[in-house]
Structures are given as C-alpha cells and as structure tokens.
Amino acid sequence: MKIIRTEKLSKIYNHQSLPVKALNQVNLEFETGEFTAIVGPSGSGKTTFLNMIGGLDKPTEGQIFIGDTEITSLSDSKLIDFRLHNIGFVFQSYNLLPVLTAKENVSFIMLLQKTNPKEMDARAVELLKQVGLEDKMDVRPSKLSGGQQQRVAVARALASKPRFILADEPTANLDTQSAFNLLDIMLRLNKEENITLIFSTHDQRVIDRARRVITLVDGAVDSDEQFER
C-alpha cells in the first residue's frame, strides 16, 4: 500500500537573493513496510527531502501525499497535529528531554495524543523492552550511553503508532557496536511489525541493510534501487 507520494517536489532556498535548489522535481513513492535509505553526498538534498515528507518544512513547488492527505496545503497547526498522529522521528542527536526518564520520554508523546494513562504506561514499558532497555526505564538520558539514548528515541518514535518513521542520520553519533545494535532493532521492528522506516544516511552499515536505496544528487533522484535482504 502506498504510504507516501511526492509529485514534482522542489525546494529552493534563498528564493529572492541567491537561489539554491535543494530539491528539483522529485517524484517518489514509498510503500508500507519499506526499509529505505536515502543517500547522497552532502548538500544533495537528503535532509531537505526528509523534512518535506515529515511536514517540517514546506516545498517551493510540488505536492506531498501521506496516504490520502496532501500535507503541503495543511495549516501549521493542522500539520503539527498530523505529525503527532502519523509520523515518527529519530534525530541524529537523539533530542530526548533531559529532565524526563527514559519511560517518561516515551510516554510523553502519548500524553500529547491524550492516550489513556494505563495504555500509555503499558505501551511505554513494552516499547522499551523491544529496544532492550527494560532495565533503564527510570533512568534519565544523561545516565545513558549514546546508543541507549538513540534506542529510547526509537521507542519514542514508535510510541505514537505512526504510519512511518523518518530517521535523519540516526547512527552518525554512534560507535560501531551501538550502531549495529540499533540497526538490528530497527530491522526487527520493520520485519516483525511491518514498520516503515526511511533513513537519510551516509553510513554504509545502514545502506548495506536497506532493501531500497535512493541516491540523490544535486536535489534530484540519481538512482532508486531495490535489494532482496
């Protein structure tokens, strides 16, 4: 089932002064359950593309459909609500709330969704178990390693039951072992629970495990390859 579709997606920065074309007429589609890596050199438009399909930035031209919803036409407040219920994010720098414990960080997004407290608690515990942090539930991020923090971020991204997860260079700050652990968890979630994962990455370890690799060059799709893994 198609989950994301972009049509002639373009983004030009500094439109008035010195225009920089970050994305140029990108047409892409993503199916449910994909494990996709978006790769390309620095400045190729990977992050811009992720921002566009994540509803964090608006394109200069083109349309983005998430399911049946054309998100570029949504107002800011509707877009925030749309993100809350449909998209999960994993950031390069984890971006956990340092004042909350691992479990509270995971629960927080469900609180924003006004989930029933019992269900919220059970889901937070379950998700942290899935990412192998059942013994770190009441620990604050400052007491966790980078890899553990990123696993909490993955659990948080899953907490809202999103239609897909966008991960921007999720392994960039991790050592090799932590990166492998994280990728194992993400692959397992993808295979067992059919969770759609889209990465922007430079990391060959991620690229080697992706079943689809889209290469962007100068804001345009250079290649789009599928792999049996």
């Binding site: 925030i80 809350l84 971006n95 340092p98």
Partner: protein, 407 residues
Amino acid sequence: MKVLLKISWLNVWRNTRRSLVMIVAVSIGLWGGIFVSALSSGMMLQRFDLSVKQHISHIQVQNPEFLKDRHIKYGIADWDALKKALQADPVIAGFSGRTLAGGMLATANMSVGISIIGIDAANEASTTGLDDNILEGNYILDEGRNPVLIGKKLADKIKLQPGSRLVLTFQNIEGELVSASFRVAGIYQTSNGIYDESHVYVRQSDLEPYVGEGSTINQVAIVATDIEQVQALGDRLVKQFPEYSIRTWDDISPELAYLQEMAGMMLMIVLVIILFALSFGLVNTMLMSVFERTRELGMLMAVGMNRKKVFAMIMIETIFLTLMGAFGGMLLGFVSIQLFSKTGIDMAAVGGDSLNDFGFPSVVYPQLELSFFFFLMVLVIVTAVLTSIYPALKALRLKPAEAVRKE
C-alpha cells in the same frame, strides 16, 4: 497540563545556579520593595495617628468668625449646650475646650512669638494625652500659680527649664495687650518639633482673669472612639449646631489625607519600578534557557507539541521562577516587618531631628496590611506573564527543521 507543569518545574532546575541567582535576585528586590513600603506606610500611619492624637483631633468645633480672624473674642457662643451634647454622645471618647491666643513669650534674655493654648488640664489629657508627653517637670493639673507647659524645642532654644519664670503677653477680649507672669511646670515633646517650638499650654482658669469677662472657648477638639465614626459624628454635629464651623480631620489638615494617598501611590511606583527592573533579569534568564534548548524545543514541535503548549511551557517556567522569588521576598519582608514592628527603627540616627520637625516620628514602626501582599502577588503574576511573552515568542519562532539540528 499536569505534564506541562512537571516538565516546566524540572526545566527550572536544569541550571540550578542560574535559577537560584534569579530567584535570589527577585527575592531581594521584592524584600527591599516590601520593606521600604512598610517603612513608608508605617511612617505615614504614625504621622497620621500622632497628628490626630496630639494635635488636630478627629473633629474641631469653632466659631466661624474665629477662622477668619483669630481674635480671642470669637468663641463658642453656648459652650454649656455644646458640652452637654458632646458628653451625651456615645461615640465620643474625649473632648477638650480650648482658649487660643496669639502672643509673645519673654524671658530676661529673649522673646519669641508663640500660640498660647488655655486648657482644662484633665480634659486635654483625656483627649490628646498631653500629660503623656511630659519629658521634664510636671503636668499642669495641680501645679500652683500660673504654671505653663512649653515644648522641648522652645525650652532648648530659649534655655528654659522647669521652675524658670517667663512672661506671656497677649490680647484680651477688648483687644488690649495684657501680660502675666508664668512659671515653667513642665516640658513636653510631641512628634512635631515645629509645633513644640511655637505652642505653650496654660490653664484656662489662669488665663481667664487676663482675657476678660466670662470664659472664652475658641476651639473644641473632639476624639471619637473609632475613626470610622468620625464622618457620621461630624454630620450629626453639623445638623445639631449649624451656627459653628465643624470640621473633620481631613478638612482641618487635608495634607494628612493627601500624604496617605500619595504614600500609597509612591509605594506602587517603587514596586512597579523594582518589578520592571527584575523583569529584564527574568527575560534574560528565560531567553538563555530558550536558546540553550533550541534543539529540544525543535524536537517538541517536530513530534507534535502544538505552539500553545510550547508557549505555555515557557510561560509556566517563568511564572515558577518568579513566584519562587516572590515567595522568598514576601517571606523575608513579612518576617522583617514582624521583627521591626515590635522594636521600631530609630531614624534619628540618619536624619537627626529633621523628621521630627516635619511631624514624623523619629522611631518608625514598619507596617503593611495583608491585602498589600495579595495585591503584590497579583502584580508579580502579571509581571511573570508579561515577562514570559518575549522568550515564549522566541521559542515559537523556531523552525523545527532547523532547530533539531542546531549545534
């Protein structure tokens, strides 16, 4: 909301030292404001109480002609009738009929212009407590022939002491100058040095032979049991004795009422200035907090925390920070007021007798009404809310896509 409160509370303590510095700054600022307000309020209230008690009383009754031309001949026409009415009124705590004469006080070395007040010593004591103000010598209740009470300032100026002799010269009813010899029985001191320097008290019975045929009461000072009753009492007396000028304390001394109003206004201005100054510190603290958390705020907006909640979070943090400081300041203020309201603060050390010259007591007892603290709390909350707007708007202007990647 509960989660927002919790996160905001925890965020306040992320940088403990910075938050504590701000809380202490707010506390000390408000403490200073509160204590200065209490001092000023205490000073004004004491001045009011002492002026009313020692000098003007709550109500004065006079012959209207006396107010135009302060001649001793303009007295209360039917003193007995007025006296009877005053004695019968239950809200009157005391009254004193006085004979007033302008004149000269002369000693062997010096002469000065003064006001001579002829009193019924017992009534004056129960009305103004003049007997409580005697510093040296005795009150003139049972003294021998022609005793006089003079103010300390006058006594110091012309070097008189109890037992000294002096001559008072004044006009009688006919307008002729008469002189009589008096002996200093006692030296009094009120809260107003200028008054003490220019007023002497003698017994009416000693003045009568010199003033002329029949006694003349030029002024009746009345003290009510409760200041709240003064206006009604005044209205009643006006109806009962339309032939007299009947004035309440605020008519007699409008500057007293004005001073109280002005003091209230000054207190507000001082507090608003303090809070205004503190608000810059608060804005700075919150801006630093927002800038330090750019990535985190970007993440919150990215994952779906709406702008209202982000705004509320920053606002709640500012309110927490301000309220903690405010509570500290109020507590310090309350405790210090309680402490000094018993012992008083002797301002003579810094102002010499100059405070006393303007009718202010030199020992000030700070005091503030409880309602002031409630009002202050409202003012603090308003300041916190206003202060939080700028940092909160800064947070809202963040673009999540850029904010989450900020180094």
